[in-house]
């Protein structure tokens, strides 16, 4: 009887270990894909940047709405400071949005919104980044840099996009928390092999069986930095376009003399 009990206990132990091992295997990612994504992450995307951003929101009937924003960004160590002033439409003019985008995945970003109608700066507590950025197809998650540690990567294959070789890399959130926070259950990224710019992406939206297609339509080499200056983001459901946003950058300049004091509530309230 003792032997029987030992055999069964051993079998239980083996099954537990097998489960743990299977789990470990299931979450392991592809070192080659990760190496590529590390290069994407390490790519020089510029510092002390100023630009004018234009967003054209197009609904499924083709009706257009336009938003114009003046943006500033600065690197602070691994973190990124961003300040945006909304210029148009008229009813949101002078609204300002300040973000301290922390590289540390365990820290929530600091965000403040200046609302001119209320004459008040409001702290925004939202680790959930799935909300739409100004009604566009871009979410707040799309506007921030992804933390590599939150994802598993897998190299699918190589493809050409507009004559340029790219790697297709699948990105899978490691936890449900990341899915809830960023709103995507899976992404496929097209990374250009010559400059490590993500020139296309497909995002599986957590809710609504929707897909979002990100496409860099214009890529410019400005001050020795590869900078997308026109991106289309299209939301589709069952092949039908639900909504589309064209985001354009004008007057992009890097290495401007931007002090940290620009990225403050003081500056938001003073305006441009």
């Amino acid at each position: 009887m003792k032997n029987t009990r030992q055999i069964y206990l051993a079998s239980i132990l083996i099954l537990i270990l097998a489960t743990i091992f299977a789990g470990t295997l299931a979450f392991a990612d592809d070192p080659k894909a990760r190496a590529i994504m590390e290069k994407v992450d390490a790519r020089d995307d510029g510092d002390n940047m100023t630009a004018d951003m234009e967003m054209i929101l197009i609904d499924k009937r083709g009706k257009k709405r336009i938003r114009r924003i003046r943006t500033f960004s600065k690197n602070k160590g691994e973190d990124t400071l961003k300040l945006m002033f909304f210029l148009e439409p008229a009813d949101v003019k002078d609204t300002a949005f300040l973000t301290y985008d922390y590289d540390d995945a365990d820290k929530d970003d600091d965000q403040w919104l200046y609302l001119p109608a209320l004459r008040k700066t409001k702290r925004i507590a939202s680790s959930d980044k799935t909300s739409s950025f100004m009604g566009s197809d871009f979410s707040y998650a799309d506007m921030t840099k992804r933390v590599l540690e939150n994802y598993d990567y897998k190299l699918l294959k190589e493809m050409e996009v507009r004559g340029q070789k790219t790697w297709l890399i699948e990105s899978l959130p490691r936890t449900k928390r990341v899915i809830d926070q960023y709103g995507y259950t899976r992404s496929v990224l097209f990374v250009r092999q010559d400059n490590f710019v993500v020139v296309r992406a497909v995002h599986w939206v957590k809710e609504g069986k929707r897909l979002k297609y990100m496409d860099v339509k214009k890529l410019e080499f400005i001050d020795h930095i590869w900078q997308p200056t026109e991106i289309h983001m299209t939301t589709k459901k069952a092949k039908h376009t639900l909504h589309k946003t064209i985001m354009k950058w004008h007057n992009v300049k890097f290495n401007q003399n931007l002090g940290e004091d620009l990225f403050t509530v003081r500056q938001m309230e003073k305006g441009l």
């Binding site: 099954l15 409001k122 702290r123 925004i124 680790s127 899976r186 909504h243």
Partner: protein, 492 residues
Amino acid sequence: MTKISMFYKGLALLVSIFMLCCISGTAEAQERPGKSCVSTELDKVLKGFDDQPSTIKENKELDDALKGFEEGEGAAEESTQKEEAKKPPFCGLSGSLSLGVSYSFAHDAPKLGETDYRGLSRLCPDFHLDLDLAFLENWKALISGRAFYDFAYEINGRDKYTDEVLDEYEKEAEFREVYLQGSLLASLDLKVGRQIVVWGKSDNIRVVDVLNPLDNREPGLVDIEDLRLPVTMTKLDYYLGKWNLTAIAVHEIRFNKNPVFGSEFFPFETPLPEEEKPVNSLDNTEYALALNGIFRGWDISFYGARYFDDQPHIERVSPGHLKRRHSRLSMIGTAVNIALGNWLLKSEAAYFEGLEFFAVPVEKKSRFDVLAGVEYSGFTNTTISLEAVNRHINDFHSTLKAPPDSAQKDEFQTVLRYSGDFLHDTLHLVMLASTFGVTGDDGALQRFSVEYDVTDAFSMKLGLVTYQSGDKVQFRNIGDNDRLFFEANYSF
């Protein structure tokens, strides 16, 4: 086989089934965020790219999927061209023109001699104009004004209303904010002129936000942009690291715009005694100080002010002669914000000294207000907030409960607010419930509004405000004032 060995066998079998479920569950969980990418699902998805034929031919379904990209609109370009940044203009004109309509639907027919408030209660074009001026390096100015004319009084018959109502509600033209602002030094800013300064962390209830009076003429119906009334101040801000010290001198003595005798929201049967307003003088200048700290994940502010109470009290100035006077108050307070994931915790506390009452003319009372609130932003495009405040009068005497003071030892208020944006920010839904007293027995109002942006410049809003009468003075007999409202707004 013994019962015990059967037990272990059974246990092992159960555990095995459980573990297998776990393994398959793990695999499923892994599939949920991402099945294998050679799967049919992915291939179908990639058809979403409206692209040129792929150079990879071995997986036709995947290539089809990639057609989701709309290639026709131009291929990626690489250039090194730079555009010249536009300089901000010297001056800019902006504003809005709106038409507001409201309909009062809950009143009974009036008694003889009473005003009939049924039906159209507002038909009002409202014009806002802002002139922005920018000059020198860091200096700018704003001149803004507002004018409205409410045709409802003409349509309903002006003779039905009291002079006070016509004076206060029918038309208005005034300068709103008119100020000059700039930097005197690298860390010192100056803003002088008619302006609005908002204190505190709460969005719906005022505790430390004492500097600007409010437009309370139609509670729950005033547009948020017009709710605070600007006053003339000199404001200096000094910045040091994460801290900022603000010093303010308020030169213009201006009080709340309250409902007047004869209006739907006026709570008494007879007019109030004459109001005595302190004149604008050096002696009557109001002073305020604030120290604000902004840190990673939290903010804190400390406030102090010496100012006139916006709400007057009634005072006997001689036998049979009453006046409404504004007490000179001192306030110290604090406010804290803490961001935790999708939650924003808010707290405010303030101590007020110098409150005067009709019932105890020789005494000055103090009050302690405490607010706690929470805001949740974890639902996509949605914010829900709940705030509660208790205002406690110290050394409360029961005689203060009687009119005309009608004060309460503890005045409790809660505000629940929901706001959601839908259809790519074109449809905005706001619901607000403000309740006085723990159970609403002091009065309550609810406001529901839905706003649709027809174009970038033109929007339409439809809403409903409902009131419940209560013991709080401002909520007496207002239960029938429920309104449907509509607003069309053009911004430029």
